[in-house]
Symmetry: C2
DNA sequence: TTGTAGGCGTTATCAG
DNA sequence: CTGATAACGCCTACAA
């Protein structure tokens, strides 16, 4: 049982192929009798007609496919963005091609080629590209949009995640609670992560604005070589030394995974209470933050609207002013942060 | 700057389009001079030639696309399978279309249509389909394979996850440790989940084999209406009542998310030690199990080879005997299970 | 060993 | 309002 073509539909409906096309695509500026319309629709349903996207694409050069680039699926943050995007594109009748680069430039390049080959209608990057030259060239032909930190080096439409502001409001929250010895725990990544840098900038700014000295903030880059989804372990290890020093009263994890590790360690130490003895918080507002007990204080960019916006921009080929796009981050206060101990 | 076509390559190389096709596809049974071959290759590289997949697909009806169906990305188990699959398909030059159904039959159907439209070369289901009639019909035209529990009702190639065996070995582990009052905590799902049922069967079998009475096992279906990634909360809530009753010495979560919730609650209760006071374990061997502290005892099906096998079967259109395919589950012993308290 | 020509299923441009 | 007809870019007999 071969698939029906528009020709078959035309024959069954007793009209020409053209008419079938008009009806099925609701071609604007064409008026045809309800009678004809109905005949075509019935025939199409009867034959279970599904247009051949190859033929269609060959004519229209549109694939109804979007390429989504992400560094890893192990971080729930990306999974969350994916979900928002996939959800919305499905609504619009588009499909998503998953391009997981594992922060590997070779992989990224070969995925880009695949995207060109399949003539995706647009590409969304959920992180800072490694292969800037390639992606910039491609962006001349295929709309590309970045959801990440705005970078000077990349001349591609970017929806800024505003890591600076995120770091700032989170830190301000801690400062208001009276914390004066804050640790920022970063985990190592193999490639550039602007976001992490910007968060740090924001944290520093908040500390400075509060009139505190440099020693109020301690940056800990944990050397644990962790596979992505073991970033939590980096937090876990860092917390050990932090608790030993008994100096910091609040710890910021570079993301929820790390904060989660921080919390795990604390929960496993007898006599340590969160947040009475030490406050813990992080970024991304992933489900990990909600799943943990106590729940973790974290920061949410308005990711869902931003994801939808990204899709809209791609499909309408809009070049909205990027400045208007940076989402206003929102502090999500959980149970893991409280007043600094005396 | 428009994309180069094979015609352009032919012109630049000074040969015919046919020759270009032969060279670029390494068409077997054709021998042409190294000279020609090199000329074509050079020209292709120079023009940055990437074949148009529409035109190609129109001729060959192959899309180099695979549709992957999963119920949700919120459960790390599916994310893990996705990762394995995506990883392997990328290696083979294939791409993955993400079809996330949210356990919604409508959505599933519309994604199936999209798969037909895009003429995916194969479909992998990571769960039990809701739309059996549709998927069965489609499977006559497009290879389909299920990675899940084998069901009598579905006549589609299935790689069995063998939930029964999983439940059995996990329970045997607990029994060996002397546990005689075991709780199995299920969370509610909106649709059929054969896997969960089979796990329960396996657990029951193990209990029976050990000569214990029915009351050695307590099945708790937590009524918490939770969105998928808050399954942990179901575990959290269940643990509260379990600890109150002080009857069970071991708890099995229906998956790692639930077990995780169980553990969270326990860690938050003063004076409860894991595993000294109560053992906790679950299924799926996701990163949550490793990330938790204490690490969670869990069960791993050999998911990675199974995922690769699924892809191989699709692409080679093999109908290997399904019986040979059920992976042998492996117990992953973590720090969360120990001898039953006296 | 290489080139010519026809067609895959659509859509779009024209006439009628 | 409807129907021929020509592309789109590639593959593949078949011919040279």
């Amino acid at each position: 049982m071969k698939r029906a073509t528009s020709k078959d539909v035309a024959k069954l409906a007793g009209v020409s192929q053209t008419t079938v096309s008009f009806v099925l695509n609701n071609t604007p500026g064409i008026s045809l009798s309800d009678e004809t319309r109905r005949k075509v629709l019935d025939a199409a349903r009867e034959l279970n007609y599904i247009p051949n996207s190859f033929a269609k694409g060959l004519k229209t050069s549109r694939s109804k496919l979007l390429g989504i680039f992400l560094p890893t699926m192990a971080n729930p943050f990306y999974q969350k963005l994916m979900q928002y995007i996939e959800n919305y594109t499905a609504e619009l009748g588009y499909n998503v091609m998953l391009c997981c680069t594992y922060r590997n430039a070779e992989r990224e390049k070969s995925y880009l080629d695949l995207c060109v080959e399949h003539q995706v209608d647009g590409i969304i990057y959920l992180f800072t590209p490694n292969w800037v030259k390639q992606i910039t060239r491609i962006s001349h032909n295929i709309p590309v949009i970045l959801i990440s930190e705005k970078s000077e080096d990349i001349s591609i439409n970017t929806i800024s995640l505003n890591g600076f502001q995120c770091g700032k409001i989170l830190t301000e929250h801690l400062l208001q609670l009276g914390h004066k010895n804050i640790a920022y725990v970063m985990s190592p990544v193999t490639s550039v992560s602007l976001t992490r840098q910007m968060r740090l900038q924001g944290i520093k700014a908040a500390v400075q604005n509060a009139g505190l000295g440099e020693d109020a903030l301690e940056v800990i880059t944990n050397p644990v070589v962790a596979s992505d989804n073991l970033e939590a372990n980096a937090g876990f290890a860092a917390m050990e030394s932090i608790l030993k020093k008994k100096r910091n009263t609040a710890v910021i994890g570079v993301n929820d995974l790390v904060s989660f590790g921080l919390l795990s360690k604390a929960l496993n130490m007898d006599g340590i209470r969160i947040p009475e003895d030490i406050s813990i918080c992080g970024f991304d507002n992933t489900y990990l933050a909600h799943m943990a007990h106590p729940t973790l204080t974290t920061v949410e960019y308005c990711t869902e609207p931003l994801c939808r916006l990204a899709v809209d921009m791609l499909l309408n080929n809009n070049s909205i002013d990027v400045l208007k796009l940076s989402g206003e981050p929102k502090l999500i206060i959980g149970e893991s942060t409280g007043p600094a101990p005396l």
